[in-house]
Symmetry: C2
Subunit: 217 residues, 2 copies
């Protein structure tokens, strides 16, 4: 785990262009048609296993890799996707067994410049941070997760908006708004539903980074 952090920190200050060249990967003109590009580049650089499987990035040590797009002041500008929202078979599901908790138990945050006025190839990687939620954070995450999951259990998935949840929110996660996945309605019937994902609000990841940098000083 410490070795992973060292490797992640060894690329602090490098540009995405330099790292892409190292991997013989070409840099797209922008991220409009390659939204996951930076994340996948860093997976390749840091040697993440479990490519696109429903598993942790660094399986052996149970660490999830997340790039964190930061603005010119070094603060997260976007929410962070966590995992898909289960819409059926929720009977046995608890916070303790949830994917959200598992994915967030150990995260390697790698800040990456994301200001639109800097060309993609010239954006720099920041100093990585190995993080686990402290008890206060976990209590809020658990409360958010429970509130949202209970709504889904009640068949009210289509009433959920991104306004709900303090740290954790639910937003669409699909090719487009016409995509459909099995869900459950208020009568318990299986109905087609927009696929959704759990996301961490930017204010939460700002707090994570903020606490860390404060500690450093």
């Amino acid at each position: 785990m410490e070795e992973l952090l060292s490797r992640a920190r060894s690329i602090a200050g490098r540009t995405l262009g330099e790292l892409a060249e190292r991997q013989h990967i070409s840099v797209p003109p922008d991220q409009r048609r390659a939204k996951g590009w930076a994340g996948q580049l860093l997976e390749a650089i840091l040697g993440a296993t479990a490519k696109s499987r429903a598993d942790m990035d660094f399986e052996a040590i149970g660490v999830e890799l997340k790039t964190l797009p930061v603005n010119h002041r070094g603060l997260p500008a976007e929410s962070t996707y966590v995992c898909v929202v289960p819409l059926t078979n929720l009977e046995e599901l608890t916070w303790e067994t949830s994917w959200v908790r598992k994915k967030l138990s150990h995260v390697l945050w790698v800040p990456v410049q994301a200001s639109k006025d800097v060309p993609l190839a010239q954006r720099r990687v920041g100093t990585a941070l190995l993080w686990s939620p402290d008890p206060d954070h976990e209590a809020v995450l658990r409360a958010d997760w429970t509130e949202l999951t209970d709504l889904i259990r009640l068949g009210e998935v289509d009433t959920i908006t991104a306004h709900l949840g303090e740290y954790l929110q639910i937003r669409p996660k699909a090719a487009d708004s016409h995509a459909r996945r099995a869900g459950v309605d208020e009568e318990g019937h299986i109905v087609p539903t927009l696929p959704r994902g759990f996301y961490l609000r930017a204010l939460f990841t700002r707090e994570i980074l903020g606490r860390y940098y404060t500690t450093l000083r």
Copy 2:
């Protein structure tokens, strides 16, 4: 349904090469690296919907299209794949609700020459046959399906061999023998298992074709 049969019969006597040209599809040298080629060609020619989805080929009318590889005497030489074998969540499953019964309720059999000594492009399509199992056939299929499914329910999937079943057998259906899918063992635990499929024995499809041609005379 009759219209489909007419279309299928209108290509009787044509070679696979002619039909491939009509679809602007190239003919592979042999079927070693394109085992499903003839079946997919006929789907294209006959306008099957539901390409590679878990659904009937001709959804609207509930008809399954099956090419039937026949030897130089016009008799089926190979078994016919029906569908994957469900290995978990068998509680609610009955013959009446099974995929096997659904897929076999209406089949458009299209015989295709399969003698290895005739080049693929020169093999001819035979006279198509729209078939539903008669009560005797269905009784045997049901008995086979029930016997095999009960073994899986008991967690004895790994004891199943292709020797079991009079008309319907279970054989591997996978990329190779290392492939694994969730199954259930004798203690009810989920264990990795070789994926399998239901197949109709060649002797059964021989009987289907034989009865039909006898009726014609």
